[in-house]
Amino acid sequence: MKKKIGLPAFLTDRKYRSRTTSFAFVIFGWVILEIMMNTGSLSSLFTSLLVPVCCYIVAAIGLNLNVGISGELNLGQACFMSVGAFTAVCLSGSLAQTIPSPVIRLILSLFAGAFVAAVFGALIGIPVLKLEGDYLAIVTLAFGQIVKSLITNTFFGIDDAGFHFSFVENKVELMPGGKMLLNGPMGATGTERISNFTTGIILILISLLVVFHLIYSRSGRAIMAARDNRIAAESVGIGIFRTKMLSFVISSCLAGAAGALYGLNYSTLVPAKFDFNTSILLLVYVVLGGLGNMTGTIIATVVLVLLPELLRSMQDYRMLIYAIVLILIMLLTNNETVRTALQRIRRKVRGKTNG
């Protein structure tokens, strides 16, 4: 093995290089965007997209752990975002008087959103992870619909007498001065907007740290072993269910934190926001970015969230073009000729940097 003297391991070791790249990429992007914001060269449209992009990135990183590293097709990631979002919105709303500091409330709400989503993940994981392949996928889809449906039918309010809760029919009657935190299909309204871009970036960095620390550890190897060969993994003493559960729960937990940040960025939020289409979008980010490739996920998310906005001049045609781009990318990346050409280029680049 070649060892370059003087350089720390995170630069030389191929294993840690992907981690370094991801971190460098996020921090670099952050600095650039901060400079642009402070010099006023960022349009208000793009500024308003900063927090949502961070949220989608965090949820997609979680999903990549689930789909890329653990190899389970999850079609319900949005429901964990939803759980996180409405948990955070309700908590922040009910603590508004008790804790005036928005920063502390934001941190508490993020933790609460992440935690409750993780609990949902664990509960849903029990039946889901007993299944395999496409059946597992369809059950995550089913749970996504169920959770959406449950949240759409929940009414939750607070007044001086305490919390009021009802299900399916709105029977919550509040005293004057009371506040409706979750209003069935209307979702949350009048939320104080306390999330910000910096929190988003910190959340991305934390989720990268969690995922990379997990991947390069005993548990990460077990997760990938269970993905590559179930029977062999069991035969070396790896419990498949526990292993898959670990990645599923962490994935839901990250989606919950992402949802919490998202929910606290808008004054109104409807449960229908986190539907099957959002789950599918997150999956598209992960697949386009490359399974298991976290930097790729970040880039794909940024590009695909911005693409419809960049295509605004095309007006009505933008979503059509979006769809065509999606199909073309899939066809091209799976095309033999294109593939070999890409490999040749990659080898050339690598040859230059090594030589």
Binding site: M1, R14, L209, V210, H213, L214, Y216, S217, R218, S219, G220, R221, A222, M224, A225, R227, D228, N229, I231, A232, A233, E234, S235, V236, G237, I238, G239, I240, L246
Partner: protein, 257 residues
């Protein structure tokens, strides 16, 4: 057999049916501490099925498996590994997306454990345990001549190296009994020769007993101390290599008529 030695594995009247079809029936055998035992028989005799029952990939229909004196009826695949049985597979089953070194490291899963939280927060014990795993992995790779390939993907290894890697991975879980399913399949005579001395070395150095399935008679007769012959899921004969070679039943089963 040497009376002082203790049995590691005791199998009694073991049998399994697949939908009314009896695949293995009434198999009784022992493997003693430090022994190399061969399990041979014509194709379809049920040899791999026996391995699958010993590791609980299949749950036996009848009979008992005692390992290190304990009944294993309630154990599953993972628990059998933790109890001390490791195996390789006839159709190689490596973790193709992991590097050669990481494949071996998965073997330490049950032996050098630490929690996911330790990993996420990078607690001091993470570094300690990972260092131990790293050193032991390097030692194993060295023995199996895979040091050069440590960082390559397991799926990129040549066939013979993949078989060696499977053995290294199995040994990482520090088994008391190692099951080798056709370790010499696809190897040339020289590689087989090396494999034979490697198997002996494994037995001595890792203090494990070995039960192996093999079609290469040179290997079986050369390293096994005792041999069990299966035919049509039934035990045909048991004995030392010399006894087996002289057994007319065995010769008949192999040559037909």
């Amino acid at each position: 057999m040497d009376e002082r030695k203790t049995p590691v594995l005791e199998v009694q009247e073991l049998g399994i049916d697949f939908g009314g079809l009896t695949a293995v029936n009434d198999l009784s055998m022992e493997v003693y501490d430090g022994e190399i035992v061969g399990l041979i028989g014509p194709n379809g005799a049920g040899k791999t099925t026996v391995f699958n029952m010993l590791t609980k990939v299949y749950q036996p229909t009848r009979g008992t498996i005692r390992f290190l004196g304990e009944d294993t009826a309630k154990k599953n695949v993972v628990e059998m590994n933790h109890a001390g049985i490791a195996r390789t597979f006839q159709n190689i089953r490596l973790f193709s997306g992991l590097s050669v070194a990481d494949n071996v490291k998965t073997g330490f899963h049950g032996r050098i454990p630490y929690s996911p939280l330790t990993a996420i927060f990078r607690l001091p014990s993470y570094y300690r345990k990972e260092k131990e795993i790293d050193e032991k992995t390097k030692a194993l790779l060295e023995i199996f001549g895979l040091s050069e390939e440590a960082d390559n993907l397991a799926s990129n290894l040549p066939y013979g190296a993949q078989r060696r890697l499977e053995i290294a991975r199995a040994l990482a879980s520090q088994p008391r009994l190692l099951l080798l399913d056709e370790p010499a399949a696809g190897m040339n005579p020289q590689e087989t020769e090396e494999l034979m001395s490697m198997i002996r070395l494994v037995r001595d150095r890792f203090e494990t007993s070995i039960l192996l399935i093999e079609h290469d008679m040179k290997l079986v007769m050369g390293i096994c101390e005792r041999i069990t012959v299966l035919n049509y899921g039934m035990m045909l004969a048991q004995g030392t290599p010399d006894e087996i070679q002289a057994n007319p039943e065995v010769i008949k089963a192999y040559l037909g008529e």
